[in-house]
Symmetry: C2
Amino acid sequence: MTGSTPAPFTADDYRARMERAARAAADAGLAGLLVAPGPDLVWLTGYAPPAVTERLTLLVLVPGRDPVLVVPTLEAPDAEKAAGAPALTLRDWTDGTDPYAVASALLDACGRFGVSDNAWAMHLLGVQKALPGTSYASLTEALPMLRAVKDAAELELLAAAGAAADAAFEEIRKLPFGGRRESDVAADLADLLRGSGHSQVDFTIVASGPNGADPHHEAGDRVIRGGDMVVLDFGGLKDGYGSDTSRTVHVGEPGPEERRVHEIVREAQEAGFRAVRPGAACQEVDRAARAVIAEAGYGARFVHRTGHGIGVTTHEPPYMIEGERQPLVPGMCFSVEPGIYLPGRFGVRIEDIVTVTEDGGRRLNDTTRELVLVD
Amino acid sequence: MTGSTPAPFTADDYRARMERAARAAADAGLAGLLVAPGPDLVWLTGYAPPAVTERLTLLVLVPGRDPVLVVPTLEAPDAEKAAGAPALTLRDWTDGTDPYAVASALLDACGRFGVSDNAWAMHLLGVQKALPGTSYASLTEALPMLRAVKDAAELELLAAAGAAADAAFEEIRKLPFGGRRESDVAADLADLLRGSGHSQVDFTIVASGPNGADPHHEAGDRVIRGGDMVVLDFGGLKDGYGSDTSRTVHVGEPGPEERRVHEIVREAQEAGFRAVRPGAACQEVDRAARAVIAEAGYGARFVHRTGHGIGVTTHEPPYMIEGERQPLVPGMCFSVEPGIYLPGRFGVRIEDIVTVTEDGGRRLNDTTRELVLVD
């Protein structure tokens, strides 16, 4: 998160989030939460260390006690500047001393704790060794919905990030594609995202022709040609909250199969969106989108889940995937992004961020989902 | 590591490294190594996934068996393109299936394994849950010197990265400092690093006046003025290997105390460098540098360790710190970077990358260590 503009929240906002997280931990039967640098720490405290290194930084949240942030001494000045710092006690440790002794002194020696998914294994092992009687669950397993339900201020930030990404798409579609490298178009997309207020660009996928058949192709040296389908998938952080949208464009006039495949994906995306309503399970969104593609005979070519959550990151729980029975709740925000991938030929993906409302869903991306023809 | 040019190694090079790592694991009494995306995986296989996400990617190295890389199905095409892929068996898993079942099927159910430091806690917990009889140690704890001793090809790449960083310093010192923001000078430094062949810029610290007293200050809005000390600390990756150097410059003529503090740090850095020789413990380098600063009365103002290793990252073991008894071995590469930090006033740090030779040390940075005056 280094370098990104922090979200405009106050120490009171962070205090409220930490209290809510500690209560949720207690309700889940946990003795506390251990939160390492990353999105959970940003969301709970507004703090992102200048770099994530092997030096232990760990927020210890124990229900009924004040939150403590364990930090390396030489990063304490950075931590003190975090928006959430007034709601925290800082406890620093110096190079050469044992940081796990500092952290474990704050923990019940026989407790079960939630630990942030991306905490380093070496830090988890360090605490486990200091307190062999403790046990652990990943935050996603223990409290999967901790950050999933956004409040009004967060929704506004996500909507603004979505609108900024949409503005980037409206500009990129006007530019020439044919004859330029994928990496050139990707650089333009990154500039447009920054120009529309993004402080951090996470990805600018430009996958042309056969490259589009690899859902994770980024952008390479391939020169885009007339007749290419081009998958664009781009996003990043604006004011601390994420954008992520995909549109597939075609260079010049498409053939009938390209039109047909694009239309199937468009209908699948629409079906996924229509399945969004409070109380529906996450997997229902996946099933709705997948059913359209399967009925059209391309089931085996939709090789990924339908969506993922978004918030202070561009990729987080909840996941729209078979087996995820978590019910949707108003305020949840996630992508709906079915695709069809034809190896050696082309791919199509259409993606919007959707938020759950009181009676359905609302898209935070609003550019056309019809096949756009570019030069 | 995304976006950085990979180092120019072949599948045979990676095969040899994996075999060496598996042998080292066996010698350390481990049943194998579990390596997640990050520098260990880059070093062992040349592979860095397009993004590090919650989806499990894990290299399983078991002595006497072929290495297996567990990857998400939709990232398999990326993994297949890695330089080390021909030396690996890929085993992919699809969204919705259990990746820990795939990984744990490759492991001795009662073994002790080394796990890369930065593996996600959620993945370690996933494997621990699948195989409750296993136990784990972090790679740095189990095999601290796995990547520490560089071969001739690696040394050449590190020397080239150091020379490129030196070239950036020779240019930046010619530019005006006074009247410009730290962030402007930092942007110039980043451009110069890229211009000298860096594919990835990791940090460009420009810490002027009182900001220099915070060793982890990056670069901010402060306008640099005549009479400021300015700490410059910059580096990144060139052809997959790291640079990291610090010089402290002064805007205009310095006062006697500024000259004196700079000279103490210069002597401390020289003393640290002189302590480098095969068989000396890492902590002796720290002690040698620290003694100079302590004798000059600034012991309490040298608030960090003296150095860290460098290789496929700009920051890794071994650490030059009190308590680290690991003996130096020819081919090890690390920073020697003492500093003095005077809160509210200024800071000084001087840093070279040093490699251990048969009979001492050799610096990979070669710009002047005298106080440079800038405009």
